[in-house]
């Protein structure tokens, strides 16, 4: 192997290849984190997997984070990728507006993303366009909201015997 793939090299390759689509980057706890445009996330993940040199061919995790205070970019979809060959990790983030949190599915790249996208839809309401079966996976089917969004309280809403005064609220 000529030169080892490092986070710096990985970032450089991404910027060379995708340019404008790479919005920001930082390295908290030495984990390269790159913000990309939602429309390019699918192609970037596909390229990273298929590129023989980088070989980021393992999807560690797919999830979402809700930032209610960031107007217009409330919903972050987070992808963790891992190169098993080079032992390099990469975190990709794409921010979506809460009114229409839609992003292309990556189930055509990673079959294993199927249930993770269903889980993210279940808890955050992110719509993965092109997903073969985007229905709830963990919560009951009759649930009518996405419980991990910050506007919903964590507690069961049907309890009537709890007096807020006794819970410091």
């Amino acid at each position: 192997m000529s030169n080892p793939i490092t986070s710096e090299l990985l970032l450089q390759r991404l910027q060379e290849r995708f340019g404008e689509a790479i919005l920001q980057h930082e390295s908290p706890y030495n984990l390269l984190t790159v913000e990309v445009t939602p429309s390019s996330a699918h192609d970037i993940i596909k390229w990273l997997k298929e590129d023989n040199e980088l070989a980021l061919s393992f999807l560690t995790l797919l999830g979402a984070v809700h930032y209610p205070d960031q107007a217009g970019r409330e919903m972050a979809v987070v992808y963790h990728l891992h190169s098993l060959v080079h032992n390099v990790r990469l975190r990709l983030k794409a921010f979506l507006p809460i009114e229409d949190p839609s992003i292309a599915t990556i189930t055509d790249i990673y079959i294993g993303a199927n249930w993770q996208e269903r889980e993210t839809f279940d808890f955050y309401g992110v719509k993965f366009v092109g997903h073969p079966n985007l229905v709830r996976i963990l919560n009951e089917d009759s649930m009518d909201y996405h419980p991990m969004r910050k506007e919903y309280q964590l507690e069961d809403a049907t309890r009537e015997d709890k007096d807020d005064r006794f819970f410091g609220r």
């Binding site: 963990l138 919560n139 009951e140 964590l154 809403a157």
Partner: protein
């Protein structure tokens, strides 16, 4: 000639060649001393219930050695552990599949009230979907407490009128839970 107590709680009147007793008392005693439990156990309360079944605590002493893992041949539904909202319809279906007469023992804080899991995904007490006869507090309760709960169920079984299941109160209770058979 005289009164002889054969089974605890059943008075009989013995004579030469005959023995008299109240039929409902005999049936109640027979039921109470052979309650077949159906364990519906999900978490740590289930582990405590397993200890209750085992040799140290031994519910077999009370005629309960046959754990019925089919609801159709069970008398007592023992719900031990956290019941999520997704599991609630299954619990209700299991209860509906049991034949009358049937009793329900709710073991532990989670089954009785949701316990510490006051959250969107957990059923806040199984009495939201099925009627409960006896609640056992604790998180989890010790096997002694579970046995105390079982003894209370036995007390109910022993003193229950045979016609209770046809009473208006009982029908009203089932209606409240949408469990009526004629629907």
């Amino acid at each position: 000639m005289g009164k002889v107590e054969v089974v605890n709680g059943v008075e009989t009147f013995n004579g030469e060649g005959f023995q008299l007793a109240m039929l409902d008392k005999v049936i109640a005693a027979a039921r109470a001393n052979s309650v077949w439990p159906l364990p519906f156990a999900t978490s740590c309360c289930g582990i405590e219930y397993m200890a209750t079944m085992g040799t140290n605590y031994d519910v077999a002493r009370f005629g309960m050695e046959r754990m019925s893992f089919s609801p159709r041949q069970a008398d007592l539904l023992i719900v031990a552990g956290t019941i999520s909202k997704k599991l609630a319809p299954i619990l209700k279906q299991v209860y509906e599949q049991m034949a009358e007469p049937k009793w329900v023992l709710s073991v532990g804080a989670c089954a009785s009230s949701g316990g510490i899991f006051d959250t969107y995904s957990v059923l806040q007490g199984i009495d939201r979907v099925i009627p409960v006869d006896v609640y056992v507090p604790g998180c989890p309760p010790r096997p002694e407490q579970i046995i105390e709960g079982i003894m209370n169920v036995h007390r109910l079984v022993k003193h229950e009128s045979l016609r209770r299941r046809y009473s208006d109160e009982y029908k009203h209770l089932l209606t409240k839970y949408n469990l009526n058979e004629d629907e």
